[in-house]
Symmetry: C2
Subunit: 141 residues, 2 copies
């Protein structure tokens, strides 16, 4: 249950936090902006402040429940941290986001950091391109 998750990371179980977590869990889009989360909850009849959404997301991130991504051009998006780590590829035309995990790249990153005298703690990798004409849902061909 979501209450568990909150308790486990030392956060009080409150209605706004539960609503946000469960929206992230159930929404059609896996990667959502703060604004979108706010809007969808508001439309669903919740009374919630945008500041509360931002606050909760920051806390969830600090607690490791969610991750934050900054795709170029776009707003910051958040996604539930479930399953193994992955990186992203974004279609520059239609905005579609696909996920991937590549062990070779992950390992190489660690080696590179080491070679340069760094202790690796995190990384951000995003590929940009255009998805095939068949799948691309761009507004204007």
């Amino acid at each position: 249950m979501e209450s568990e998750e909150l308790r486990n990371v030392g956060l009080k179980v409150t209605t706004p936090r539960l609503k946000i977590l469960s929206l992230l869990e159930n929404a059609k889009a896996k990667h959502m902006t703060a604004e979108t989360i706010y809007r969808q909850l508001s439309e669903g009849g919740e009374v919630i402040g945008l500041a509360t959404v931002y606050r909760a997301l920051a806390q969830f991130e600090a607690a490791g429940l969610i991750t934050r991504h900054q795709f170029e051009g776009g707003q910051t998006v958040f996604e539930l941290e479930r399953g193994p780590h992955h990186d992203h590829i974004v279609c520059a035309r239609c905005g579609r986001v696909e996920e991937f995990y590549d062990k070779v790249i992950e390992d190489r990153q660690r080696e590179i950091a080491e070679k340069l005298g760094f202790t690796l703690s995190d990384h951000a990798l995003t590929l940009y391109g255009e998805c095939s004409n068949g799948t691309c849902t761009a507004k204007n061909g």
Copy 2:
């Protein structure tokens, strides 16, 4: 000469543009924010608007003269596009930025994009970590 560079990409040769290019060329820091460029030029006695700096940087980027990076937490930084492509590793404590190029990672990215049905056009890779105690110049231990 910098005038050449501007002409080559179809931009008029103007004083602000020359000053910005030459600052990027000569400044101690290789990765600079728009604000820093603006401040350093102003301190050097130039009369230049911040909007002009942003405009010029956007044009330089579109023309391929510079690249833009968004390191997490920090402001957008720009750097002259000289020499081969590289990615970055940033120290979370002192902010030091090192550059690296790794053929294995670059090749893998292309393969991954292909496998997912994308035509790769760009990518952003930044590693985060802490540099060794010897080199780290963090404010507070």
